[in-house]
Symmetry: C2
Subunit: 241 residues, 2 copies
Amino acid sequence: MKAPIAHAEQLSVAQVAALIDHTLLKPVATPGDIKQLCQEARQHAFATVCVNSSYVPLARQELAGSGVGVCTVVGFPLGVCATHAKVAEATWAVAQGAQEVDMVVHLGLAKAGDWKGVAADIAGVRRSIGKALLKVIIEICYLSDEEKVQACRAAARAEADFVKTSTGFAIAGATVADVALMRQTVGKKLGVKAAGGVSSWQEAIAMIQAGATRLGTSRGVQILAGRPGGAPAQKPGKGSY
Amino acid sequence: MKAPIAHAEQLSVAQVAALIDHTLLKPVATPGDIKQLCQEARQHAFATVCVNSSYVPLARQELAGSGVGVCTVVGFPLGVCATHAKVAEATWAVAQGAQEVDMVVHLGLAKAGDWKGVAADIAGVRRSIGKALLKVIIEICYLSDEEKVQACRAAARAEADFVKTSTGFAIAGATVADVALMRQTVGKKLGVKAAGGVSSWQEAIAMIQAGATRLGTSRGVQILAGRPGGAPAQKPGKGSY
């Protein structure tokens, strides 16, 4: 979903779950941890699991038949590896079953104001992943407002599907104000993913009201459990248990 | 240099400079920042500059004829991208002129005790970079002493040239005790690189006394300037100025 969502305050647990990339990117996460992540994603019918690229084959296997997608990250979390490396990682991950790719922009070129270079880096990945969904992480905490706008425009020019606030590995994550600025910049054509620090139902709804159409968080289960009115965090599993 | 260095306390400024990878890996570093790094490396005759892979072509160009090498990082800083991605990044960087490659181990497999998997990931990169120097970052702050030993052994089995303590992007960097443990584990066959937080002449010498044969730091100029006796930080440039 790319265009903003109206009446976010009325969303059900299941509707919010369907906006969440259930995320585990810590470098010490083991194969066992990834299996548990996938089990939770089946149970709650999250949009995807978001895992480092080495775990794409395992996640695809664990989620077979579940309807939950596999999202991976590319050039993560610094964004300053060579475009060649990003393309190779993205191409491989999609071939292994990833349907969504969250790449980090080249922050050094962004800080130098080289927006053509930033867009070319994104376009390289775009061309390499066919119809897979491409989200571009602009790492807002390092950018001025003007740079945030320019980064979103570069992502749009390079035909990304989403802009995303943060990696979760830098000095700060998503803010409502930045989600609103990113939404204002990309209009209805691109989605906006809020990531990094979203940890309660109230924060999730506030991000959606500001224009987010996807949430990246490791706290999805906790978010759903926090819906006012005591709605159950667990909807009936549609997978193997 | 791989085998330990005797009488570290007697090393000259030039001898310590020749052990330093002059490092700038911050994601917001611009091409201009990399040029300045290279200028400093020429001036002080550091061993290499260590830069993110997108900057390898620029660093090679800036350092032409200087005798200073180009070192890059692979799978950095998390180590949990796919082996395929690490191999592609390393191969490309070496083709572009990097002589040294610092790769991060797969920390998730390490924490799961899958040392065969850890070694296979390293061996994939080893096979792809010919005679380029391979350093394996084990990110000590996440590992138990037993895991540190196992990670060093996996690097040795996979024919790495060096083991390296840290990325500088995790919760802690090199310690003297860990350098000593790594040296004890690899003997004289591999080098040991201390990285992350080394910032004074005294710390540098302590690391070398513990067995380090390379230092990764962004504070090389400051380290040289701190030599007791007030030795000049700048040796005569052998490059273009």
